[in-house]
Amino acid sequence: MSEVAAKELRIVGFLCNWCSYGGADTAGVGRFKQPTDLRIIRVPCSGRVDPMFVVRALITGADGVLVSGCHPRDCHYTDGNFYARRRLEMLKRLLPFLGIDDKRFHYTWVSASEGAKWQQVVTDFTKQVHALGPMHQK
Amino acid sequence: MAEKEYAYFSGCSLEGTAKEYDESLRAIMKALGVNLVEPDDWSCCGSTPAHTVDHVFAAALAARNLTLVEKMNKDVLTTPCPSCLMAFKKAQFNMSRDEAFKDEVNGLLDEAYNCGVESKSSLQVIYEDIGLDAIAARVTHIMPDLKVAPYYGCILSRPPEIAQFDDPENPVSMDKVLSAAGIQVQDFAFKMECCGAAFGVPKREMVNRLSGKVLEMAIDAGANCIAVACPLCQQNLDLRQEQVNKTTGSNYNIPVIYFTQLIGLAYGLSPKELGMDKVIVSADSITRRITREEYEKIKADEAAAKKPQKAKKDAAAEETNN
């Protein structure tokens, strides 16, 4: 592994376009410094996140997965994040049965104006994943 | 049979200059069925001087006592002195939120403190835990001449995150407690203004000026007595009244009494056992007592006399107004 990669782990993020992706943008505009481990995939709604994506990511090389959407009741598509909330909670509880530490998966709600909160979420989750170490030992 | 029991920290002032606060508090707690137990070998809480020198040291002084309370298997400590209270509350607040700070403080102690004790002022215990109904139930005497301005001082409800009690800008606990004890309470806008606190020695003229203002406003509010819950407030307003008069050319002669003493009087306890003779400005002239039954009879007679006039007035009001 390259020297660069050795400093970081790999975290995949699924962010909803309307709130969380905007929140991450706001954090950028505010120049809120964050660790670089995260790679963001944009989805229209947190309800679009199929639990299959999360498991796929963890099995094929991600060390942690983060999903973020609009706050419940504020979903741009009204109900999308309610479905996300149920599915992702179920997924979190099922992960140990797959032999995956559930602390490697985190879902949260960040609105487009919450730049500082996004910075906190990314920093905390990255720390959490680093504490667990890489998913697959070299 | 005691219904409630609290760990009790009197503090140094209550053993000396504020002895009457300790005596009166114990007396009324006994009357209300509350048992106060002092921790064995309690020591100085640190008060004002310690935290101006070093925060870790100050927390250690406070935490040593809290550890003693933990050993008593108690999780609530009550103290009548707001300064002791702040020392305990700040130690608890900072140690329970900052792991590193907690370790530093415990490093200075023989036995570590585990952040398991909640500290409450005696006023808070009386207001929240005992409750206004229980306070009112024990009243046997009314003092018809007494008009009290309750003075809270600076730190009973401030800073709000640490004190977690009453309103930080307009507290009403003492007002309500005294009212429940059948005492007439005036609306006193200066209830939280600074009296000068510990500047009594280094900056005496400041204390004279600020305490003078408090006395003036109390009289302006129609009070003939100030109720306090803090030994330093009592000292500045009572002990220094003569100095205030000399400096500001005023003529104040208003007694400053602990709220516990006033409640004790309402419970029929003797002025001697409540330490009423230990204050500088005497309250004898305004603490004339009559029994509750006598008071009720007087009120009933007054109401009967007013009835025919009132009925006429009421009818007229209904017509034109509402």
Binding site: T36, D74, H76 | -
Partner: protein
């Protein structure tokens, strides 16, 4: 497939902390990439030309731009590649500015991250399919929510532009906050004199339909085709019969009803017309105070009404209006001064709010323009204004500036001198904010010509002393404490979001910030649009602002609606769900989960039951796609394969 990759320097915004040349170099090695380069400002005209030239020259068929957030320029670049003949959906934008260069300083780590973001975008764009919009008809009618000055301006501009307007106002009369003002700064124009004609125009315009004393119950549909359910509240007076004569108000025996129009500055009758210039000029009964409702007996108004308009049996009435666009102009609220305990807000009668004082100043107000102390009705001689009462205070949850208080306090200080020549006004301020045309000259006049004493410092406490209120504060320019014995204290109360703002936003599917103000598409460049197409903002609901700014936004919102309606058909967003009817098993789980009821059951000729998406209703959320057990329904442009391609690009290097 020939993918072209363009890495943007964005000046030094990206190039400062990302080695863009290296990113381009690595991009060239990625499978499918035929061309990769780094450019200074890709969104500029020459930058876009670089892209179109490269497409033509190198026969590129898919484009990736690594630059700012797609929320910023995705549409810009989509248009660029369209001009070069490519389908707009053969474009992906990697965010290496907001998500990389701006949030980290380690150039090596940033460059690595940028490379991977590009790799993801390339993997996705290679899976993209061409998508084509369809057109749908739009209903060229507009709903304006709120009858304040912003809403009225928007309505008038739309109507003058030939559109039919439906206006819904929740109070019995339009006019909003401006109708309550006495004079307006900086010209000291009489407020209702300049507002009145606009109100009449709104009432009389052929194309404007006004529903006063009504609220929005439900909003269904999408841009171009909304169905609005409106609840018309019962005024208990038949407005078709009411002539606004005011006799009922004169005779009503209940004199202590809360006066909403006067913000409680003085009580009013249970039946009332809010103010003389009200439109519609009709009476309304407040059932919370009316004796007929509370005690069951009175009926005086019914007896005296010359047209027999009173009707105690009225109920809520629901109607539906169909429109194509919505302008939200719901205004603002004011902080409850009881929260300012150190000022005795709500406890002392002689400590009042700016709007209550404004009502005292107003000749048609509760005191006929006489300034009085609420406690004893005497004329005050010393008046203290406290600016920033609640605003710019993190501890109260209002860290922002309320925009117009400095100006109205100066105005009120000037008017006070006119009303009471021997009065002395004091203003406690932190800063004097007077940025508009003539504004700074105005605040200076208050001090220099009208003798208002401005004290730079905050007020720490207000308490009663005898008949006066002592205002204790600091004078930071002199470095002393100040105590003023005032006859009357006026608090410049903080502006907060309108009551019910959050619920309204949920009905409209628009975002609101922590304070309840509605979120615009872009704080600098798109102040009157929201991220929900078809819904526009105007006025203080978007943030505290004064009358010229509100009027400006009203016109701006109207312009947006007029341009939206300038075409007869709108293009639908083709990034919607599509059912593969071969693989669909007809379980209809997607139908049950769709938040917009955009999926219906369809029976094929073979008799097979399948799901079908109604294109114009699908909003493109993708919940159906993650629900489908066999992957038959896929949200286009965010299909399972496309998203998994991004996952693979990150995880398997």
């Amino acid at each position: 497939m020939r993918v072209g990759v363009f890495i943007c320097h964005c000046g030094s915004n990206i190039a400062g902390t990302v080695d863009v040349a290296k990113v381009a170099e690595e991009a060239r090695k990625m499978p499918g990439v035929a061309y990769a380069t780094a450019y200074m400002y890709t969104c500029s005209e020459p930058g876009q030309k670089e892209i179109t030239d490269a497409i033509e020259r190198d026969k590129l068929d898919r484009i990736v731009v690594a630059a700012c957030s797609p929320r910023m320029h995705e549409n810009t670049f989509r248009r660029t590649i369209m001009k070069a003949g490519l389908n707009r959906y053969f474009f992906e934008q990697a965010n290496i500015r907001e998500h990389v260069s701006w949030i980290g300083l380690d150039k090596e780590l940033n460059t690595q991250k940028a490379i991977e973001e590009v790799r993801m975008a390339v993997a996705k764009v290679m899976k993209n399919k061409p998508l084509f919009s369809s057109s749908f008809k739009i209903n060229k009618r507009v709903l304006v929510i709120g009858g304040g000055v912003a809403g009225m301006q928007a309505a008038l501009d739309c109507a003058d532009g030939g559109l039919e307007v439906v206006m819904v106002e929740k109070s019995p009369s339009i006019g909003g906050m401006m109708a309550r003002l006495d004079k307006t700064f900086p010209t000291v124009d009489c407020s209702i004199c300049i507002l009145g004609p606009k109100m009449v125009d709104v009432a009389q315009h052929d194309l404007i339909k006004l529903h006063a004393y009504s609220e929005i119950a439900e909003i269904k549909g999408y841009v171009g085709n909304y169905q609005i359910k409106i609840k018309k509240k019962p005024p208990y007076v038949d407005w078709t019969k009411c002539t606004g004569c005011g006799l009922c108000m004169e005779k009503c025996p209940t004199k202590n009803a809360y006066d909403h129009f006067n913000f409680g500055a003085a009580p009013t009758r249970a039946i009332n017309i809010p103010f003389p210039q009200a439109i519609p000029k009709k009476a309304t009964i407040d059932p919370n105070h009316c004796r007929q409702f509370v005690k069951g007996k009175c009926g005086v108004c019914a007896k005296v009404c010359p047209t027999g308009a009173i009707n105690y049996e009225m109920q809520d009435e629901f109607i539906t209006e169909e429109v194509g666009a919505i302008i939200t102009a719901t205004g603002y609220g004011l902080m409850d001064i009881e929260r300012l305990t150190e000022y005795g807000g709500g406890r002392y009668p002689d400590v009042i709010t700016g709007i209550q004082y404004e009502r005292f100043l107003n000749a048609s107000g509760p005191t006929s323009g006489h300034i009085i102390r609420p406690s004893d009705h005497e004329e005050p001689k010393t008046i203290v204004f406290v600016a920033c009462a609640g605003s710019r205070d993190k501890s109260l949850g209002v860290p922002y500036c309320s925009n117009f208080c400095c100006m109205y306090i100066a105005k009120q200080a000037i008017l006070t001198k006119d009303h009471i020549p021997d009065s002395q006004s004091y203003v406690f301020y932190m800063d004097v904010r007077s940025p508009g045309k003539g504004y700074d000259e105005f605040t200076r006049r208050a001090q220099e010509e009208y003798g208002a004493k401005y004290i730079r410092g905050r007020v720490s406490r207000i308490y009663p002393k005898g008949k006066k209120m002592v205002v204790k504060g600091a004078d930071t320019l002199l470095g002393t404490q100040v105590e003023i014995e005032a006859d009357l204290v006026v608090l410049g109360t903080a502006v907060v979001s309108a009551p019910g703002a959050a619920q309204m936003a949920e009905k409209l599917h628009i975002s609101y910030d922590t304070f309840g103000f509605y979120v615009e598409s872009h704080p600098k460049l798109r102040p009157v649009e929201t991220n929900t197409s078809g819904v526009f903002l105007a006025g203080a609901c978007q943030g505290p602002k004064d009358i010229p700014a509100s009027v400006g936004q009203g016109s701006a919102a109207a312009a947006k609606v007029l341009s939206l309606f300038s075409k007869d058909m709108l293009e639908s967003d083709p990034a919607i769900a599509q059912v593969n009817q071969n693989t669909c098993v007809g379980c209809l789980k997607c139908l049950k989960t769709c938040p917009f009821q955009a999926i219906v059951e369809d029976i094929l000729r073979s008799g097979k039951k399948v799901a079908k998406v109604i294109e114009t209703v699908c909003a493109g959320c993708g919940v159906c796609t993650s629900t489908c057990p066999c992957g038959a329904i896929q949200l286009q442009h965010f299909t399972d394969n496309q998203l998994l391609a991004e996952v693979n690009a990150i995880c398997q290097k």
